[in-house]
Amino acid sequence: MSVSNSPSGFDAKRYQHPQQNWVCGRLAEGCPCPLGPSTRGECLSENTCQPRRSLRSRRNFVTGLVFAASLGVCLLILGGSSENSSTKLFETTNIISPGPLSSPHSAIQEGCKACHSASSLSPVSMIGEIWNSDHAQHQSELCLNCHRDFGDHSLQAHSAAPELLELLQNLNTLEPQLTSDQQWARTLTDHRVAHAKVLNCATCHREHQGAQFDLTHLTNQQCQSCHENTFHSLSDGHPEFETTRERIRFDHSSHFEQHYKNYHFLMPGGIPKQSCNDCHLLSADGATYHLAGFEAMCASCHESQILDFNMPTALRLHQFEFVKQTPKTESPSTEPLSLPPFLELMLRADEKIANAIEALQTIPQTDTELRTPLLNSIEEATSQLLKDLQEQGAAGVTERLSRVTQNSNNDKQIVSVVKALDQSRFFEVLSTNDEEATIGSWTFLNNRATVVYRPQQHADPLIKAWLDFMASEVDHYPDQAEGTTPSRFDQFFRDAISPEASGRCTKCHTVDRLLDGSMKINWGLLPAEYFYRQFSKFVHRPHLTLMQDQTALSEAAQEDVCLKCHQPETPKPFFNRDAFLLTDGMPRAEFRHSSSTGYLPIQKKDCVQCHQPKMAGDNCLQCHDYHVHKNSILRR
């Protein structure tokens, strides 16, 4: 039943507008004054009452009160979050923390300031920093206070040098496979973070997600969000594995199939290897295999080649011949000037002599009138050099090498050379008055008026130091532009790694070109950190265990497990491989940067058998490390 309230005597003139801030104090009693209160809340009637706030006014008042309280709380929190705030009443960093830290970081004692540069900002400057991106980099730099092993480009993509990133991008040959989601994501976001000057740690590592949160986890899509060339999964689109060149040249196929079978004839004293484990030793963490070393693996056959004095040519010792007594000649030789590299570098420290040596390269050998004074000046300089070195010793060599080096930051290599010379007793030989003498590895050959050096063992310190010094000074070799003249160091390095070079080191030790254009000889095993700071990683042990379980193989047949993935190539005829053709075992120049292990590349299909989403997983980070080691190099 509805009843009309219209006859209730509503007086429109006494209508209380909702916008009014004050109402009559007697309104609640049902008998408000006809005049009502003023706009300032004063009673205008004779029978005064206490006007009351209207409903809207009370709501505005409550709103203002709540707003003021909220603002106060915010200011207190902001003030309390700063380490340096003078207005700090209490600690509020626990209040603003968005969640518990991951287990590794929860032990940090310094509090927020250990990781957050913002904690040192005052509340006012904190507000001013909202649109300033520099503080983000400062925060990432705080991460690096503890995580120090990412090298000089820690905050670049992959912690890699820009040059390396550029080279990698230029290697892209894949046709991108993009899902519709990835297409949209690239439209919505700028995926080219690799171009960013700084890629902050928090881009990938999101903290405050709880103790069990894996800070390093990223999805495959997130990994690929920066990459120009993408693919759907390991099984669908991932490129086949490339064969990487080992640091030590060793062709398993030819050794097992040819050399070991014929070692009685080739190397009668040699000890052929029977299984993989004779040379490859599983590391303690089960991740990788270490090589057993030269003595265990190679020495029985190859040490004699290194030490053999008469192999292979008379020029073998050219690198380390040094004129002991300058022979005076009656008439200038018409032979082309050929100074041993070490001697030539010492003489080139004098600019006048360096010019003379250069001039002699261009003057015809028959023009004795022009050549004679130059040759005489070189003879005099050689005599003076001998005296200087006898007096100054190592300091004299250091000074001269420093003068002739192209790389002004090469002091370390020079020191290594001088130290190796000193340890080889080079300066003693220079000072001896004996007619013929052998001191250390040096021998004075009176008939040639020179001292010559002979390596005494594998990994000879002086040979190594000298080759490293040459390599570090190489400018353009071997990719020299057409029409340009190679520098003397380029020529020296070419000679130093030639088949005739003393020690024949680069028969087995490969040479890498570094990003700065210089060369680096790979002397030995890689440092342990190299293996966990490369783009790719592989842990052998669980795979071996799995395959042994699957095939019920005995330990004796473990090498068969190795061969499941490392399948040997069909061996080529002895010394018929491209890299060794036409030489006495030394790689030719054009193949100096290549070698074969004698195995076929690892097949992706073998991995895909298990590494699928619902089996062993196919997350990128299972096989790839994001941060590459600071010493990573691109092998070419």
Partner: protein, 254 residues
């Protein structure tokens, strides 16, 4: 927008930033509705249109909020406080939506519209009329028990404040139902003249009861804003602090 956030989840750009900034824009727009109501003279579209958009934007904000908090409760104290205030604003908004869509229909069924601020005046008028009716009855019917019945049973009902819960849930109060039973019981003790007077009194009591219902429903229509609007301003304040903290402390997460 939701799809975009899901797609962005597959990149290194965290969807929290995307959803957060969109959520902030929507909340600022939602809060602007209150400002719009204060400035009716500006040609910014009708209030009804604003209200409709306000409702849809409010519902969208909840979806974004869920995505922003990753469908879970925040871990930090401040973020929990912020989420609680948002839920208070959203919840009060949903309740307000229900109230503003259903209570006006109930008010229409009650008869003529009564201005909320005038309810005490009308209630006073009903009481005065009842008093007058009883006085006249006492003079006209000597020895009648009606004034005593009015004093003991009916007057307390007149002076009673509305029972909010009964009116909101049942549309009437238990006191009114109790009173109707009493009136039914005592009618057999009164003569015809007294019954005529009692009918007038009953009609006035019914008006008072309906006025109580008007009061309760209109109070609900107004008082939900006492939560919604202050909580909105509080939310905006805390959001500003949240933005400052996230921008300065997040370490450059994209």
């Amino acid at each position: 927008m939701t799809g975009a956030a899901l797609i962005v989840r597959e990149t290194l750009v965290t969807p929290d930033f995307l959803t957060g900034w969109i959520l902030l824009a929507i909340i600022v727009f939602l809060a602007a509705y209150n400002v719009r109501k204060s400035l009716p003279f500006l040609p910014l579209g009708t209030s009804a249109l604003w209200l409709q958009i306000h409702i849809y934007a409010g519902l969208l904000s909840f979806v974004l909020f869920l995505m922003h908090v990753d469908y879970s409760l925040p871990h930090g104290l401040f973020e929990s406080l912020l989420a609680t205030i948002y839920l208070l604003v959203f919840g009060s908004g949903v309740i307000g939506l229900y109230i503003t869509r259903s209570y006006p229909k109930r008010l229409t069924h009650l008869g003529e519209e009564v201005i909320f601020e005038q309810i005490p005046v009308i209630r006073k008028k009903i009481q005065t009329d009842l008093d007058q009716t009883i006085l006249e009855s006492a003079e006209k019917i000597p020895g009648s028990e009606l004034p005593i019945f009015y004093r003991d049973e009916l007057y307390p009902f007149m002076m009673q404040k509305p029972d909010f819960v009964s009116h909101l849930v049942y549309g009437n109060s238990r006191h009114w139902r109790h009173l109707l039973r009493k009136l039914s019981d005592v009618k057999r003790f009164f003569n015809e003249e007294e019954l005529n007077t009692l009918a007038i009194i009953e009609a006035q009591l019914h008006r008072k009861h309906q006025l109580d219902t008007q009061h309760v429903l209109q109070s609900a229509l107004k008082f939900w804003l006492f939560v919604h609007i202050p909580a909105t301003y509080s939310l905006l304040t805390f959001i500003v602090l949240h933005v400052v903290l996230v921008q300065v402390w997040s370490g450059g997460a994209l």
